[in-house]
Symmetry: D2
Subunit: 355 residues, 4 copies
């Protein structure tokens, strides 16, 4: 839609119409009391809107259509395709199905013993999928970067442990990749590939990961609006991989003074996204709050708001963890979280009408 300035001349209006027609669309001119508004009839995605914004007499140019058509429920309906919520299958586990799914494990894999001990703990607590970080994105170059930083061999050994732990405790496994160099390697060992918040905008990485054909856990960047998040998810679906699990993990905190949580968990984004796309959405209360004493409360709230699952960091002794100990809970605490979340899920009952 093009909004003209109130003082736009007839000639300027006609010029905009001509420009629109150049792209094979039809212009619908609506002369108002104060100004003229010109609608675009046809496929808006063919039009570079920024060009229209600087044509003489134009005040504003904006897209009316959704920029994420491939994952939009509205467009899916139009084309007669799948428009209900999609269920992403990871082995026997269904993400986006009728029951919430719990992904848990250590922030960083530190040793085989540590991983196996935690894997056993989270399995006993009721978790479905095992997480374990091998390539850690860190703010400081001087911090521990995960075992994967030790080189190809160490990375592969850690990946093997993860796979073995998954086999032993019968849980599919997930790890985060941080750069394009890790995609091939990681895809050989895990069931789900995680793309972290800091890599959300990495379109080359998205494309490369999507082509592996495995389910992807895709986290929202802490500075990304929902529209942007979904537009970038579209890069993966454009590679014909629809097994995308979206994850809300908190956006930048706002306001002066001490920050009481690491990020602001945007729980309203969960149902808002569910109304836009058929992809399932889960919540990460650990990174969002950065506080182990808030994980229980935010887990319950995440399930209550309608998330299809949670991803939670767990360590048998958080004080000993090399990374992010302050946000990890113990397997016992996880057990309490999972059982309470299940009760909350039941209390709410099946989600009302699907949009």
């Amino acid at each position: 839609m093009i909004i003209m300035k109130s003082e736009a001349t007839q000639e300027e209006i006609e010029n905009v119409v001509k420009e629109i027609e150049k792209y094979g669309l039809r212009a619908d001119v609506s002369q108002g009391t104060y100004r003229t508004v010109i609608g675009l009839v046809g496929d808006e995605s063919k039009v570079p809107f920024s060009r229209f914004a600087i044509l003489p007499g134009v005040k504003e140019a904006m897209m009316v259509e959704t920029p994420y058509k491939l994952i939009s429920r509205e467009y899916a309906k139009l084309s007669g395709e799948e428009s209900q919520h999609r269920v992403v299958k990871v082995g026997d586990i269904e993400i986006g199905g009728s029951e919430p799914v719990f992904i848990a494990g250590p922030c960083a894999v530190e040793s085989k013993a540590q991983l196996f001990k935690i894997a056993e703990g989270v399995k006993m607590a009721g978790a479905h999928i095992l997480r374990g970080g091998i390539f850690k994105p860190r703010t400081s170059v001087h911090s521990f970067q995960g075992l994967g930083a030790g080189g190809q061999e160490e990375a592969e050994e850690a990946l093997r442990w993860l796979q073995e732990a998954g086999n032993k405790f019968q849980m599919p496994v997930i790890t985060e990749i941080r750069g394009e160099g890790q995609v091939d390697l990681v895809a050989g060992y895990v069931d789900v590939i995680q793309i972290g918040a800091r890599n959300m905008y990495d379109q080359d990485l998205l494309t490369k990961v999507a082509r592996k054909g495995k389910p992807i856990l895709y986290k929202r960047h802490f500075g990304a609006g929902i529209e942007e998040f979904l537009s970038f998810a579209e890069y993966m679906v454009a590679e014909e991989n629809r097994d995308i699990i979206l994850c809300e993990r908190g956006i930048l905190p706002l306001g002066k003074g001490r920050s009481y949580t690491r990020y602001t968990l945007d729980l309203a984004a969960v149902p808002a996204i569910q109304k836009e796309t058929y992809l399932p959405v889960i919540v990460d209360p650990s990174h969002a709050t950065g506080r182990r004493d808030l994980v229980f409360d935010l887990s319950c709230a995440g399930i209550a708001v309608g998330a299809s699952g949670l991803i939670i960091e767990v360590h048998y002794n958080p004080v000993e963890a090399l990374v992010d100990g302050q946000q990890m809970i113990t397997p016992d605490e996880l057990k309490d979280v999972i059982s309470t979340c299940r009760r909350v899920h039941k209390a709410i009952g099946p989600r009302r009408n699907d949009n």
Copy 2:
């Protein structure tokens, strides 16, 4: 605490020590490898920290103590005072007690008939307290400003309706004041006075309202951090009114593109605040999302995260509402919200250890 620059001289360090001692505090000098850090021993609130920040050789000056001592649970414990969660009583209703409290009603009172019809509806749905806006804060001077804008007489009539509706349906009533000129008038008619988000920083208003001695519903500004929110709540408690109900109602949305919710509801703030202060916290899902189709989900999440109650906008026919129709639910929908929230509350069980 004062952090010195690494190149600070001995003389500069001694000067800072002298300055600290001027305020009757003791300085604790700690000589590190790279720099010197000077702790302040004594009552930090007597010291204007900004002065220290510009003394020669100083890199950073910051307060270690909490700026909201009067409402802090930690300080309450120290002084042997009430440190558990406070229960604010409004008639028979207990906010911060064992059961969640539901406040509901129209965004704006439009007529006696409209108010009574909605009051009856929310009472039947299970609400405890009746809300109704008479003085509406609006972004545009050209929008409907509430019946209170019609002058003293019209305002008083609307307040009387509110009082009558409360009596008839046996619910205490609450309305928002927007300026100092309304305090005396409003205090004569309502059981709880609301200070809205936009007035959060209005310290003269806070003081004036607090002196009325009535319970106050105090909303966080959409640009305020938690520390700031609690520091301003302190203005009311300084007037010896401890019947303050804090309310999270959403902060500014972040990120480019369409905003899918009006604000970002910061649910993690609820338990984070509860750990800092003994005052009860409730949640407003209506203003936070600005979408009637999200109120159910965020209400459930609010109760799940541990809020002591909800404040929800209700209209029997949202399309007809003069203000904010897009975020109002019907009495029938409210009934569903309340009964589900009660089940969620039960599912979670009594809150674990208090801090």
Copy 3:
């Protein structure tokens, strides 16, 4: 403009049209490939947009017109009124004229001697208007609140000093009011009334101050977008006071970790606002940065970006100041700021075409 869902029925479209016509506007229906868009022809401000957002079949409802018509240059042009930049006159001083105006003085008036000494200093440095805070908005109830907090008499005495200092050094004076209770008193003593950032949304206060008929310095709230800022300025112009000086003073800082400036000075807002409204805009580098070592740089940038002036906090000995010493510069430093800013102003030359 109303954007319909792609699956909207003909009946739903017709219903929207009927609703639009109820308000005396004409509906312009544009049937696109994917969806129907309905334009509103007539005075959009008569229409409560929120109602349309929840009519069946509606996806989005949004205003095309500017919500701040009274101060809009575009509307002024339409109605043949003043559309060029307005010059606000304060005595002989012209704000928005051909030369930048410098407002300077202490953050808080502490004593007559302190005020007079600073007044003399800023006059010598080249300042045009004297500022001095008497009612200080403070985050903590435990901090110094300005001499005005001492009661009516002390407030009046401080206001008299300000008036006397203005007379003695031949500068108009300005002070901030913080609540409605101070408006009458302050208006009797000062030439310009300041409404601070925290009171930006206080529509009752805006109305009350505007009616005094004096020039108003109106600061943008640190969480306010430009549209909101201008919409609230409209409250004052609706009282027929057009002597409004807008002031950019920084918005909330973003991002994790230490904040290197107190707020983020949004200098692009200056020309952006100037293109929207005829009101003059000035910049406050002192509160924006909260750092005396950045005031020079941001002052130069403020003038370079096209501001009509600056408001700067000055103290002969910042370390001694009771409030905000860390952001005050000395009269000597002010002299350097003013002379450099004048050179910068000249270097840029007269501003190019007005819109």
Copy 4:
């Protein structure tokens, strides 16, 4: 520094001390009136602070030292190294020297003819370095992604054009890389490698680019605080590449309603960063504002605030540009920008004392 809870026991304090000593640091215990604060004496970067935050009795654990030691001016002074502003040399051009440097060219290279025509234009206007985008990061997968998206051959051809244009018009050239797969290719053709805002957090990419040994233009992410920006720059310097040019290009806009600029240009960040690090800082007014009618004003402000240069998008006919036409200026307009900026630079004079 570790701040203990007021109710911490002696045992808890001793436990923290022991933990600190485990890492080879010394603990400095300072017993205050309300609480105990424990300083860490030694190399803080060896300590995982998050562990301390969850030790029993601990209220807060925070780093006192700067996390970006390699690029810090304060640490450089300590170690007797270069601490003055660093001059990055690109051929004969000096970035961070006594004169501002202007980088200009098209947002996206579209054809050889387009590139050469613009190259000639910016050279005549006074630009020093030629920019041209070949791999474009775009929000929508459905938008034009730059010629580089056409595959290796097309990418290489476009890079050759860029090199040729640089040779012909005697300007070093710069282009943005978007993923690890482009690093080797691009490094063979350009003089400066750009890492864009969206890749700021991509530590694998940073490391890979840094190892090429070429100067790097490194843009701040729109959600990154200064501390984070500098901490990630440290990843490149850790690879012993100190030819890093930092670039401020705007952070997320804040506030409700229409956004009048694409991002918020944080000009105070320029001098704030200059006081922290010796690396030069430039400004990008094109992406920050997204409006060609604001580029002149923000360019002047960028130079006035002390930036070492500007990077500006230029097209001979912005309406025809395939990408971001709305923010490009013409070569003639660039000439005006450059000559005015030079006058502004002169008006301010040599920057005062370094720190």
